[in-house]
């Protein structure tokens, strides 16, 4: 059994790849072990050498040479093309199948659909027009009522002045609180009775 640090851990420590716990443990051991300190120092110099190897000098014009040799680009197909083709094929198969089973052609289907939609439009359209008219009248009435209410409020505050308005608001608040109190009391009494 050896008490010394494993060389792989020394390399990982130098690379900063050792976890905080293991690194702390390793540093603690290094303080008391000159052999491991020496082993770490040896590998530190090697590590510096490993990590500072000179890069390859690429000749100027390399990228241009690559581009010259590139084949014609393979363009990516539109992502919606395949689903569209599949949908069209399914529809065509369905129509042929429908014709074979029922004897009804696509043209017959179209004529039938046209009649149905015309009948539906004949019933739905007048109803929609009436609903729209009614909606317009209701909007106008609500608008008039709102503007009348606002005018009344403005006149009321003008007559009362700022102090009077505050007193009126306070009284209204009191009245609302009183009503809430009464309502709560009643519901509590109901609960007791039940």
């Amino acid at each position: 059994m050896t008490d010394h640090l494993r060389p792989e851990d020394l390399y990982l420590y130098l690379e900063g790849e050792l976890g905080a716990f293991d690194a702390g443990h390793l540093e603690e051991h290094l303080e008391t072990c000159p052999d491991c300190r020496r082993a770490l120092a040896e590998r530190r110099l090697l590590h510096e050498g490993f990590t500072s190897l000179p890069p390859f000098e690429v000749p100027r014009g390399f990228a241009a040479a690559v581009l010259e040799r590139l084949p014609a680009p393979k363009l990516r197909k539109a992502p919606w093309l395949m689903p569209l083709i599949a949908a069209a094929a399914s529809l065509a198969t369905g129509l042929v199948g429908f014709y074979l089973f029922t004897g009804t052609t696509f043209v017959d289907l179209l004529i039938g659909w046209n009649r149905f939609s015309s009948a539906l439009a004949g019933r739905v359209l007048p109803l929609a027009v009436k609903t729209l008219k009614l909606g317009g009248i209701l909007t106008r009435v609500i608008g008039d009522l709102l503007s009348m209410g606002l005018q009344g409020l403005t006149t009321f505050t003008r007559v009362l002045g700022p102090a009077g308005t505050i007193i009126a608001l306070g009284l209204a608040l009191l009245l609302v609180s009183f009503l809430v109190f009464l309502g709560t009391r009643k519901s509590l009494h109901q609960g007791e009775e039940e």
Binding site: E42, L45, G49, P73, L75
Partner: protein, 186 residues
């Protein structure tokens, strides 16, 4: 969208300028890797061209969920494997244990000394590493180069090579110890 993904997307639409930018960005790390793997300057440049062309032809299969660099190096790594397979180069088993002889290394390191001396020492070490690297089996050398020359993380290398991270760490360690022993012997 990252810069690479944006460039790939533009290249896929036929924008050659975008692909040129990709080539310029990766020409140096890729050739550095290939040079260390082939040991020949011209071969490295030829291989790099072929890898860039291969990547361009299969650009539509690139999935943006992955890093472009790892995808490109995966192509390069497979290209090298094909090359070695064709040439039938002798390979050394990477399961062979690293020669565990004398465990001491010659360089006297602890004293940092003056910076110029340190620079010379480092330059000498680098030269020794380059020479020793040529004798390390390809499978170990490749992982070492990916880690220390191309500066990929262990996780990225695992992704490129389709190996577990633990195996990658262990093999990079084996490569380093092998280098250490060979440098010591030289």
């Amino acid at each position: 969208m990252t810069e690479d993904r944006l460039l790939v997307s533009r290249a896929l639409k036929g924008d050659r300028k975008a692909y040129e930018m990709i080539v310029r960005k990766y020409e140096q790390p890729l050739t550095s890797y290939l040079h260390r793997m082939t040991g020949e300057r011209e071969a490295a440049l030829d291989f790099a061209q072929e890898v860039f062309i291969k990547a361009y032809c299969s650009l539509a299969s690139y999935r943006p969920a992955f890093k472009f660099s790892t995808w490109l190096f995966k192509i390069a790594s497979n290209h090298l494997i094909d090359h070695w397979r064709k040439k039938k180069l002798p390979t050394v088993s990477i399961d062979q244990p690293v020669d565990e002889g004398d465990d001491s290394l010659t360089p006297q390191i602890p004293d940092p000394g003056p910076s110029t001396a340190r620079r010379f020492e480092l330059a000498e070490i680098r030269e020794k590493i380059e020479r020793a690297l040529e004798t390390v089996p390809e499978a170990l050398r490749e992982l070492f180069v990916l880690r220390h020359v191309s500066e990929f993380s262990y996780e990225e290398i695992a992704d490129i090579k389709g190996l577990p991270v633990g195996t990658v760490k262990n093999r990079v360690f084996q490569a380093k110890e092998m280098l250490r022993k060979r440098m010591e012997a030289s």
